[in-house]
């Protein structure tokens, strides 16, 4: 059974590209337009990996991570940040919030697949 990735990004094009890239590698992808939508979508399906942007309307990526980590079923789910933010301070915040890794945009489709495979197989 294919593993499911929750892709959270307010940019439709990024969601489209992430979705296409991961689907072509055999993953199921659930898309969410921001952190709040991500929280809702996370309830609908078993999520094996969360891939989230940082700067989004309504709820940003770090808040989403904190909210997810507060739920027992997401305590150990890998969460990767995929964002244009690349400062060490932001990365430290992400790490503190419970992020598993940090990917800086723009992403290389092949590299993204490699990282996702490494994290969830």
């Amino acid at each position: 059974m294919a593993k499911t990735v929750l892709a959270v990004d307010d940019s439709a094009s990024i969601r489209q590209m992430v979705s296409f890239t991961l689907k072509s590698a055999g993953y199921d992808v659930v898309e969410a337009v921001d952190g709040l939508d991500g929280l809702e979508k996370a309830k609908t399906k078993t999520i094996n990996l969360v891939l989230t942007d940082q700067n989004m309307p309504r709820m940003d990526g770090l808040t989403l991570i904190k909210n997810l980590r507060a739920q027992p079923q997401f305590a150990k789910t890998p969460i990767l940040m995929l964002t244009t933010e690349s400062s060490d301070a932001m990365k430290a915040q992400g790490r503190a919030a419970g992020a598993t890794g940090w990917l800086v945009k723009p992403f290389d489709p092949q590299k993204l697949i490699e990282v996702v495979k490494k994290v969830i197989g």
């Binding site: 933010e85 690349s86 990917l103 945009k105 723009p106 992403f107 489709p109």
Partner: protein
Amino acid sequence: MSIRHVAILAVVVVSYIFLAYLNVTYYSALGASMYFFGVFGALYFWNCGLQSSSGNPGNYLLQCDVDVNGALKHCAEAINQVSVVLAAQLDSIEEENIRVRNIFSEAIEKLIGSFQYLAVLSSKQNEIGLRITARGANDSSVRQFEDFASKTSSTLRQFVDSVIENSRTAMSLVELTDKITTQMREVKGMLGEIEGISKQTNLLALNAAIEAARAGEAGRGFAVVADEVRDLSGRTAHFSLQIRNSLTKMQDSVDEAELAINRMAAQDMTFALTSKTDVEHAMAGIEAMNEITGNAVAELNVIAEDVSTAVGNAVLSLQFQDMVTQLLEHTGKRVELLRAVLKDEAEMAEVMGKTLSLGDTLNALDNIQRHIVLQAGRFELLHRSVAKNPVAQTGFASGEVELF
């Protein structure tokens, strides 16, 4: 601090604010006009004198060659005009910003769709190539045909070889029949000798019979012997004739056999050779076709890989839309802050425009001074609030990956 000092300070601060404005926005024409306005104000207040009318502190008379209230109103009007122009420009910036984002978004969405479709087509092309290759190697119908052609070729080769071998055998048989014919001729020759002996024996027997008859009673026994000899001679002639007849029949049979053998040996092998050549050509054609197909598939696979790489690069590059959108949103925040500043400027202008008495004028100038200081602080805040740009990237190399 004298009112002149306040005014000069105000001008300096206004100049500072608009210089900051120049840095914050990139609309240098607007910034320059605001700066010009500030300098103009400084020159205006510099030309005015300030005196105490009654010696009471705080009761000042502003002496100037123009009316102070009128000048303040002019300033207010000028500020209002600039504010209106700036607000309109900010509206345009915001509207254009939104349009750019929408155009980008729509165009990139379509581009991504196109590239993804390209990737799907490339993938299908690759699959077709692999299917063709697999079919060439594993497809049972193709393999069966190749087997059939191969066996046909082998059978035809055996057939031709067999015909050639038969031909050789026939030649040997013809030689043998020729030998048999020669030997039969020899036998016939020998039969002639036997017939001659038989005739002579018959003649001898006849002579013996005559002599026996002449001898009378004494020759009776001899006459019996002579008869027997004559009979033997007759039987010999008869057997000789039978043998000759048999030999003649044998000769006829041998002749017929030779004819048959010759016909067999002369049988036309062209059709077999032609068929064999055709089958070999067909086999060579199939092999050539397989090679061409294999090469074409290999090329298609290379193209598919290239397309896949190109699509990957396109996906990487198209993410500029997200970065540009975020940068534009950031610019939008700057515009929002500037709009708030302009709103305050308009309120200040309104206060300036309402000033009537000297006391009010002084209060207004004091307010203006405080307002300018406040605005300077706001610009500082603006600087700080938008200093953190969410997009640090300046190029399109793929971003770093870090797993915690």
